[in-house]
Symmetry: C2
Subunit: 227 residues, 2 copies
């Protein structure tokens, strides 16, 4: 039923939405935000990602921290959220996102099985460093690859190539994990073996790139890729 | 109060959302679609645009007609809309979108004043040709420029350059009109004088590119650009 993936030499994870729950930022300040909290969280994430695509297309890269703040400014205005200091508190919360519950044990199992692990994210190095440090997960990764190194965001292939170059592996030797359907398809089009972590039962994206697996969480990953 | 724009030699319009109301497609089939109609229309537009950005980023261009259909497939599934034949009916409706009410008289006034007019759109030539023909507006444009000519979508600068090259004008001699904030900013970053037609009171986008004006409809355009 869960046929193993063959020839996997490293597992490379998207960060936001895949390992770390971006909704946990708004959740921490739900009372201060009020009834717009859920809408704000969803809109913030969508706008943040839109801005990465648009800046990549127009050749106007800016670090993900800046883009995340600009997206938040738009969404706070759009949602009419004016609570004092809320911008700074939400940005700070973005450095302390909760990992999804299965993540620590899953990573430990991969490492115990000798699998190499890395993050490949739009997040700039300071953001990524902070979130893995703050969650205690830093020792469980061999490397953190940031789009900042190539000054363009996913799904530009130069971003995915950071992982193959950094790990010295061919694309098909890497199992890439993302909860973001668009990222999963972009990574599959690049050549990774991709598991789409469809945590919330989203309809599949109609985009190029053939997904290898669709899973509802990362829990089963060790059994899929370890020998 | 409404200080005129100077040195404008042509007005170039985005099509969908700016001249033509994409909500009018779903509106025509509201009964068949049911209570999800409004959500479907908004999601369809958002997904369609996302797919253009993602295909541009990954270098996997496909004609806007195909992308529009793929976005619709995703959204029909996501919204659980299964009415018989609804995909074909909505795609057909996309070729018969209503122009916004002020559009015909505004275009006629520009032409009467000697202003050159064009459309610059992600839409492929067949789609654009059909919608201007079906709305009777075809005689009011000097040219229809389609992203299909460069096989990439907005906000890639190669798309905006179709208008400067085609009209033989410098960017600042063109007044570009778009209801899509992201398109307005992309076009402003390219160098057009841009009026953002903010029909629905959206919060402004935090993106590069300085907008020249923000208007609530196209009605005032002739008085802004004609001598």
């Amino acid at each position: 039923m869960t046929e193993r993936l063959t020839g996997i030499k490293a597992c490379v994870f998207d960060a936001y939405g895949t390992l770390f729950d971006f909704n946990s930022a708004v959740a921490r300040h739900r009372e201060a935000i009020g009834p717009q909290a859920e809408r704000l969280s969803e809109m913030w994430r969508g706008k943040q990602i839109s801005y990465t695509w648009l800046r990549s297309l127009a050749g106007t890269y800016a670090p993900f921290w800046q883009v995340t703040g600009e997206a938040l400014d738009h969404c706070l205005e759009a949602c009419g959220v004016t609570a004092a200091g809320i911008r700074d508190r939400l940005m700070e919360a973005y450095l302390h996102l909760d990992p999804f519950p299965e993540v620590p044990a899953m990573l430990a199992a991969l490492r115990a099985g000798g699998m190499r692990t890395a993050i490949l994210s739009n997040g700039d190095p300071q953001m990524l460093g902070a979130v893995v440090r703050n969650t205690g997960l830093a020792p469980l990764f061999d490397a953190l690859y940031s789009a900042d190194a190539v000054k363009v965001f996913k799904t530009d292939h130069r971003v995915y190539r950071l992982a193959t170059d950094g790990l010295g592996l061919a694309p098909h030797e890497i199992c890439f994990l993302s909860s973001n359907g668009w990222d999963a398809h972009g990574a599959a089009h690049f050549g990774f073996q991709v598991c789409w972590i469809n945590r919330t039962g989203q309809a599949r994206e109609r985009l190029p790139g053939r997904l290898t697996r669709e899973l509802t969480s990362l829990q089963a990953l060790p059994s899929l890729v370890l020998p």
